[in-house]
């Protein structure tokens, strides 16, 4: 293994006049720049790195060696479902018949791709218990926004314009209130009970004819199944609102429990969480949105339709008169859709229903094995993830941040920390279904070791990490003095 940390910027490798390509002769007429508005013209050359091809290849290969990912180690980042991305997904979507497609090709030349899109729509509808899906949104938050636009369109279609509020639990992901605000809706927060679930008594007085709907994650961000969900859905429906399901935690529900059956009207699914497509820096994401029967006409354009006769069928791309119009260019992130469809077909119905129980077993195994050293605020069986409220023994002043940094020394990715906000020292652990007992045991051993270090040698933990290429970063300075371009860096160094 290469222990040298590679920290160069491609701009630092630049040499005046060096290049790795040559363009063919320009067969087009020179554009007359004088006809352009002068204020839109760049006054000086862009500062682009000038490098040869081998330098570029080495630069990015060396940089990629700095990465930590699911392919290199255990990644228990709660709420993110960092599950393994099976290589067969990559093989299938790299097939030239898919990877070589152009979004403007004629429909009759892309029937296979449209069939994949259509079939994934149907699979997601069946998995979630809803009627129809769009696969167009590019990410989870984009799906939330699309779903809320559907909610608003539904109310507006009934000339019910006073529904401007959305109820969001205090344990929700930050994207929920953010999406509601972007959609022009006002956020009303409903409190959680001590057991972490939505407080129905706190919810009731919030309901009225100004409520557009309620957003929920189930199991919630504490990994607890909302056992009052049927009652909550009924209360929200009775006041005329719609129920929105944030699919972030769909993983433990696969094949066991369907949001549509729980009373949800609209939902999004994160293909990059539940359906094994790359997540985070390895993205891009995809956030399909589904609706129950009766809301299909509010889905955004374009849609993929199937028409069939006795001995034929065909797929077409259609634009309806949906009030939403389009929320993306073309049909979303097709290569991601392709991977998710591959995953579903690879596992099949029976194995898909094993995902939740295994993810749940793994999470509970870690939780029970560590609850004597780490504070477990919510007892009992969790679903796919759980939250510790820091170390059990906080007397030495070692915080959740310190434990997270120390984990890096032992080669594990840190869990999600300081979220949800319900607990001051939150540490959110989600192992996923993929990990072997050996990996879970290794993680448990390290977590116990860190708890022991925190008690016996607290400074060691407080000053961690010690064995990573860079030591503890100054996140306050990073937030206050942001340097995000090379020009700014040069300016700062002057």
């Amino acid at each position: 293994m290469n222990n040298q940390y590679y920290s160069k910027l491609i701009f630092e490798l630049s040499h005046e006049g060096r290049r790795g390509y040559s363009l063919p002769d320009n067969e087009f007429k020179e554009y007359d720049l004088a006809s352009m508005p002068q204020n839109l013209l760049r006054q000086q050359e862009p500062d682009l790195p000038q490098v040869d091809e081998l330098t570029v290849v080495r630069h990015y290969t060396n940089m990629s060696n700095n990465n930590f990912g699911v392919d290199t180690g255990f990644y228990p980042l709660g709420s993110c479902t960092m599950k393994y991305n099976p290589k067969i997904n990559e093989e299938i979507c790299a097939m030239p018949a898919f990877s070589g497609l152009h979004p403007l090709q004629q429909e009759n030349t892309v029937q296979g791709a449209l069939e994949v899109y259509y079939n994934l729509q149907r699979s997601l509808a069946e998995i979630s218990g809803l009627s129809e899906f769009t696969l167009n949104p590019y990410a989870g938050a984009h799906g939330e926004l699309t779903g809320l636009m559907i909610m608003r369109s539904y109310h507006m279609s009934r000339n019910d314009s006073k529904r401007t509020k959305v109820i969001v639990p205090d344990s929700a992901h930050g994207t929920n209130p953010a999406s509601a605000a972007v959609c022009g809706l006002e956020v009303v927060v409903v409190k959680s009970r001590p057991d972490g679930t939505v407080d129905v008594d706190d919810l009731q007085p919030l309901l009225g004819d100004d409520i557009a709907g309620m957003m929920m994650t189930n199991p919630n961000t504490l990994g607890i199944f909302e056992h009052d969900i049927a009652k909550i859905a009924q209360l929200v429906h009775d006041c005329g609102g719609l129920m929105y399901y944030d699919g972030a935690n769909l993983n433990p529900m696969l094949g066991k429990c369907r949001p549509g059956d729980l009373g949800f009207d609209i939902m999004h699914i994160n293909l990059h969480k539940t359906f094994s497509t790359p997540h985070g820096g390895g993205g891009p994401g995809s956030g399909p949105v589904g609706v129950r029967a009766g809301l299909e006409q509010f889905l955004p354009n374009p849609r993929v339709k199937r028409t069939e006769g006795d001995d034929w069928y065909q797929y077409s791309i259609e634009n309806t008169d949906s009030a939403l119009g389009s929320i993306s260019s073309f049909l979303g992130n097709f290569a991601v859709i392709m991977r998710a469809y591959t995953y579903i077909l690879t596992l099949g119905r029976e194995n898909l229903a094993q995902v939740g129980p295994l993810a749940t077993l793994n999470a509970n195994y870690i939780k029970e094995s560590l609850k004597d050293c780490y504070e477990l605020p919510l007892k009992g069986v969790c679903k796919h993830e759980f939250v510790f409220d820091g170390l059990k023994d906080k007397s030495t002043g070692v915080t959740t941040l310190d434990v997270a940094k120390r984990l890096l020394d032992y080669g594990f990715h840190a869990p999600t920390i300081y979220f949800p906000l319900l607990f001051h020292e939150a540490m959110m652990i989600e192992p996923t279904e993929n990990e072997s007992k050996e990996t879970l045991d290794a993680f448990i051993e390290v977590m116990r070791k860190i708890a022991h270090e925190a008690a016996t040698d607290p400074e060691l933990v407080k000053s961690a990490p010690h064995h990573t290429p860079v030591r503890r970063l100054d996140d306050t300075k990073a937030a206050l003095k942001q340097i995000v371009t090379f020009a700014e860096l040069r300016q700062a160094e002057l």
Binding site: Y418, F419, L421, D475, T476, A479, L480
Partner: protein, 126 residues
């Protein structure tokens, strides 16, 4: 052990108000700044904005989280602490010296529903 000052009024969402005549200086408590961690941005209202007791008037963003600021009293903002724009970390250094807004109180009787130093000390369990 968080610093709590006698003579100030405290809210359950960890803001304090220090009364001087008809004006109140509103900021976050030492307990709050400690829980938040290093503050990197304070979102403040503008002079002449109205604030309402118990309602949000701004936000404080730290390396851990962004939290709403709720005004313990109602009234008109007569001054905002502009020093926090350049150096939000002042809130961590001394949250009581570095108030966030100065409010002309519209209803001094609201102070009755706030906690005194001792009640606040019990409230945060110290």
């Amino acid at each position: 052990m968080s610093k709590i000052i006698d003579g100030l009024f405290y809210s359950e969402s960890h803001e304090y108000v220090k009364i001087e005549g008809e004006f109140g200086y509103v900021g976050i408590t030492d307990y709050a700044q400690h829980e938040l961690g290093n503050v990197v941005y304070v979102d403040m209202p503008e002079v002449d904005d109205e604030v309402e007791a118990g309602q949000e008037f701004g936000a404080v963003e730290s390396v851990k989280a962004a939290s709403d600021l709720n005004s313990p009293v109602s009234g008109t903002v007569v001054e905002v602490n502009e020093a926090l724009d350049d150096e939000p970390g002042l809130v961590n250094k001394d949250p009581y010296a570095n108030w966030i807004i100065k409010v002309q109180l519209s209803d001094a009787s609201e102070l009755d529903s706030l906690m005194n130093a001792e009640a606040y000390k019990n409230f945060i369990g110290e």
